[in-house]
Amino acid sequence: MPLLRNLGLAALVLVAALGVTDVAFLRAVPSPPRLGTNFSSAFLHLEIERLRREEPRTVFLGDSVLWGYALRPSESAPALLAAGGLRDANFAFEGGSPANTYAMLELLLASGVRPARVVFNVNQKTFNVADSAYATLHPSVAPLARPLLRPADAALLEPGAADDSLSAQLDREAGALWHLYAMRADVREMLFGDIDAAHALHAALEVASGAKARADARDAPTTERFEGSYDLAPLGTGNVSVHYLALTVAALRDAHIPAVAILTPTNHALLHPYVDTPQYAGNLAYVRRLIERSGARVVDLDRAFAPAEFLDNDHLTAAGNRRLARRLATELADP
């Protein structure tokens, strides 16, 4: 019996220590300039709650271009605008698409967030049925946003992978009670700057050994790599991304939220055979008309950047992001 009593006491000490840590963690967890590469639903919920309690801000939505792919968080255009005095919040994320933009917008509005303005990017490649984010919600956005979608809209999306295994159920239960556990992926990224300590160590070793520089040189983007990334078939209402883009601009109009849609910078020099065609121009014009019909403003940056300002087909370098921030600062200052 003393053994059982001692084990029971030890379990109580463990639970009490975890409880105290969890309360302290929730108070201390910082709000980074953008969501992580591997952000959790719990962290997204926390960030939305913080945004709800603050004065209205300009909210950025969209994909990895606005998120700041391959750059430090402080180098992304929204972070540079914030450093310049704009009160903003970057809710763009890697793997974004019109469906994800709408899901995030619905989540923000349903949570009571009232953005002063929404700035979102529209990337032509995400209208391609073959794009990985075309009809798929981000796994950390889906659990929060999918229940908010009308059944007819949700039916257009890939069904989420339902995992009812004991492990998944325990994971959900533990995550609901224990914030640190639910946000472990976010904690690791904040601490190590990578998805976990092992990846951070591996990345540091690759940089030190020169392996990363060799891999970057070997994997430099070539035109052929993007064959099939842009669908040149004429866009129409049957396209899931068009459907969700229309829902997004309608929701913004109905909520009386000023909206600015950025037609994503595209590296025409690299993608010349696929995008310098009448079909691509026609699809771009279609998207532009769709947005403008709802009263949102369009900032067309499709051809606004030089090849040297791109990392690949659409992601901008640090210098490219600086110029994007300057351009957006001018656009956003214009009422």
Binding site: V13, A17, A174, D196, A198
Partner: protein, 65 residues
């Protein structure tokens, strides 16, 4: 070559006696017999697992145990 005769614990009748007289086992045993210390050790193990765990730990069991 180990001389077994030299490693005989005087008075030990079995392996439990040997462990009971081992200084490391005695110190650890006395510390972990304290439920507060045992609970804090478990807490430290959980924290280290959460912070340094692999990104692939999407399964509850994998992380916690």
């Amino acid at each position: 070559m180990i001389d077994a005769e030299k490693h005989v614990v005087p008075g030990a009748r079995d392996v439990r006696d040997v462990l009971a007289k081992d200084p490391i086992v005695r110190v650890l045993g006395s510390r972990l017999a304290n439920p507060v210390v045992l609970g804090l050790v478990a807490f430290a193990i959980v924290l280290v697992t959460i912070v340094f765990g692999p990104s692939s730990d999407t399964r509850f069991i994998y992380t916690a145990f």
